[in-house]
Each structure stands twice: as C-alpha cells, then as structure tokens.
Subunit: 254 residues, 2 copies
C-alpha cells in the first residue's frame, strides 16, 4: 500500500514514545524499523551499541522515506544512559524471564503510554537484538514487559514487525481515525421519498406483468420488495440506475 | 521475537477469515504473508493468478514454519471464482477509488468479521499486487474497503505488513488474551501485615540514627515513608530483600 498526503499531516503532531533498539545486528533491520515507526507517526529512535557502528549506510538505504527518523537517531553505548531521561520504559520480550514484572499486551502498553505522555511523562519501548532478544540485564531496567500475543504454535515476528505492531497500536489508540465512513463518489444517500417512488414504479411495472402471483401471496411479496429496497441503503445514483433499468426493460427486445 | 509453545495452541482453533492475494508478484512476499498470517492463527490463503505460477519455491522457502498455510493454499485464475463461496469480502486499499463504498479501519473490519463468522458466514480479505494495489475491477466485487490509518506524510506498508496488521487485529479482538498480568518469579505479593512490619523496622532503625529530623517534620516524614512502602506493591521476596538491607546496614563498615 502506498500513497502520501501532506495535507492531513497536522493531527499527527505532538509527543510520541521513543523506540529503543538494543544492540541491533543488521543495518537493514534498523532501517525497516524506522519505516515501520514513521508509518504510524513515531520519529524518536535510540540505538544502543549497534553491531556495525553508526552511521550505517544499509540502515540509511533501507529507511528510504523515513529519513526524518534516521536524522534524529541518538546512539548510546549503554542501556543505562539511553533510559536516563525516560520516566517509564517497556521491554518487549517473547518468553518468560523468571523476573517478577508486569506483563502487558501491546494494546494495554499503548493505553498506558497515551496516559503517561498526556501527563507529560517520557516513555520508551525497548527492542532486543534480532537473534537473542533482550538480555535480563536490560529487562531489569524496564518498568514493565510487553508480550505480543502470537500463535503459541508459531511465534516469529521480526524486529520491524514487532516495532510496527507497537507503532500501529500507538496510532490506533490516538482515536482520531473514524472507524468507518461511507466514501461517496459524487452522490448522496437517497431520501425516503425517492425510495418510495422507486417502489411504486417497480410495483406498477411488475404488477402489470403478473409478477405478484398467486394473488393471496401478492401482499407479502410487495412487503418483501419494499423491505428489500429500504434495506439496500441506496444512493440517489442507485435510484437513477434502477429507474433506468425499469424504463429499459419496458422496451421490446431488438 | 521467537519461541513456540504447543501446549497453549488449543484456544486458537475455530474458523478464521480467508486471506486472498490478488496477482502477487514476488514469491517471497507470498511466503512472508503466510508467516504473518500464521503468527496470529490465520491459515486460509487463496491466491489469484500469481505472476510466477504455482507452486513457487521462493514462496515455500520464505514461508518456513508456516507450511500449514502453504499446504492449504487455493489457487484461482479469476477473482470471481475465489469469492464464490464467501458471504462478505473486504478489499484493502491505500487510496480513494471514486466508488461509493463503506470504508473501515482494520479494527472495525475485524469486529465485523468476528460477528459474521460467529453467525456462520464466510469472510475474506483481499490484498492487491505489491506495486499497484487492487484494480477497480476487483474492488467492485468487495462488500467494503479496509483502509489502514497510516501517516499521511509516509504511507509505505508492504504486503506482509498489511496482512500482519489485519491478522493481529483478528487475534486481538478474539479477546482471549489477558491485557495484563503480573509474572511472579516464585514469589507472592506481600500481605499488609508484612508491609507494616517492614515499615516499623525501618522506622525504628532510621529513627535511632536521627533520620526523622527536624522533629516537627517527623510525623509527615513517617507518613511519606509508609505511603511509599504501600505504593511499591512489594512481593514477599522484596520484603525479605529490604529486611536484609536494613540488617546489613546496621553492621559497621569493614
């Protein structure tokens, strides 16, 4: 899916959580994580001790279009310094760690994050190296753990996918997107009167051709037809199409 | 994130929506979509007119671990036949199509899908080719559109990521995952009495060393200490650690 609209960018402003990549291995994965973030408006990334140093040309290339995230990256040597100014940090983890700690879903984590950020707090989410995940030395520095409820028979999210789900939840819970709307292609919904008139016309045209038969069923057949017409939730354009169909069907075949 | 647990697989049974890939180009993307699906328990994939034919070795290789999805793939030549047995089909799209059609978020789409599947209906979600997205000829066959609320300044979800978000929403809305729980590493939360006793011990040990000073502040300092101890929501193990700290601090430096 692609497509970009600068006009709607305004309601994406404001503070967001910080994504913290701990000892990422592949530059490509750093770039893919940046893209995942920026798809949902996150632009604050910190990287702790990247394996291949920094800057990393492969990360830059992969992050194409999300250069804003790359430009603002903070690189730290130690987890401690990366977390210094944060009030609350989540650690993402796939397995139990034998540490007494709150474990939350991505949804609950981002609910908590919205509340904390609204209070002026700074919140981070840590992601571990691709192969091994976060070490317990990093996890003990987090205030809570995030566990994505993946299929117990197949748990294989990559780094960027994990970042994507958290960024998606952040954005979803911002609650500024209408859950549904009707896209109207240059038309409007029909009025009750327009639907009634179409019904009368169909009834007349069909009745004149013996459609409502046998006679003792006619009343219920008419009710069924009327019910269908109102259930279809037609537009004015739809009504015109149906009028056109009836008009055409009244002509003889050529 | 990785890790697999066959024991918890049971509550992932039951009918799920069908993922329909229309004219996918790269085998790798088909395999990645299968993995994304199976992470969240979706295993029904249909492919319409894959560019490189079927079976596709690159798709099989990329789908590693999600072979169950690959084994059950249905291949169709035309969208029409792929949708024949479905009661409701969503089409994913990134841009407006000048067609009058209901547009929903992934969340709303999967809410609707859960309702329809609970009623015994069969539901599909169509995804278009990587470069161009779905053609209008396919979109008019869908009952509603899904639009992912991506950043208007940067919309770049790939096929597998788009599938991942829908599969994640399906699973999230199944509602069987506790939003949060406390992982307890072999301990239990402390009782009120245990917290009170620790408070008394700290008060005594600190008071004997002149901590609560000046005297007119002593009462409020004690209240602050007690409030902190109850707010910390300590485990029995934490309580023991604090008792050990106090005991140790009472010894002279070596």
């Amino acid at each position: 899916m692609s497509g970009t609209d600068h006009a709607k960018a305004a309601d994406w402003a404001g503070p967001t959580p910080t994504v913290i990549l701990v000892e990422p291995q592949m530059g490509e994965n750093i770039g893919a994580a940046a893209r995942a973030m920026w798809n949902f408006g996150l632009d604050r990334m910190r990287i702790i001790n990247p394996r291949d140093g920094w800057p990393n040309p492969k990360a830059q290339a992969m992050a194409s279009g999300a250069g804003r995230v790359m430009d603002a990256v903070q690189v730290h040597e130690r987890t401690e310094t990366a977390l210094e100014d944060l009030n609350f940090t989540f650690a993402t983890t796939a397995r139990s760690r034998d540490l007494t700690k709150l474990v939350v879903t991505p949804e609950r984590a981002m609910e908590m994050t919205h509340s904390m950020i609204a209070e002026g707090q700074k919140v981070g989410v840590m992601f571990g190296p691709e192969r091994s995940g976060l070490a317990n030395e990093d996890i003990v520095q987090a205030n809570a753990l995030i566990s994505v409820p993946v299929n117990p028979a197949f748990a294989s999210l990559n780094l960027a996918q994990c970042v994507l789900l958290l960024a998606y939840e952040w954005r979803r819970l911002a609650g500024t997107d209408a859950p549904s709307f009707m896209e109207m292609a240059g038309t409007d919904f029909a009025s009750g009167l327009e639907v009634q008139k179409l019904g009368e016309r169909m009834e007349e045209a069909l009745g004149a051709r013996g459609f409502f038969w046998p006679e003792d069923k006619a009343e219920s057949m008419i009710l069924t037809l009327r019910n269908m017409l109102s259930r279809l939730n037609m537009t004015q354009a739809d009504i015109r199409v149906f009028h056109g169909i009836i008009k055409t069907m009244e002509k003889p075949r050529r």
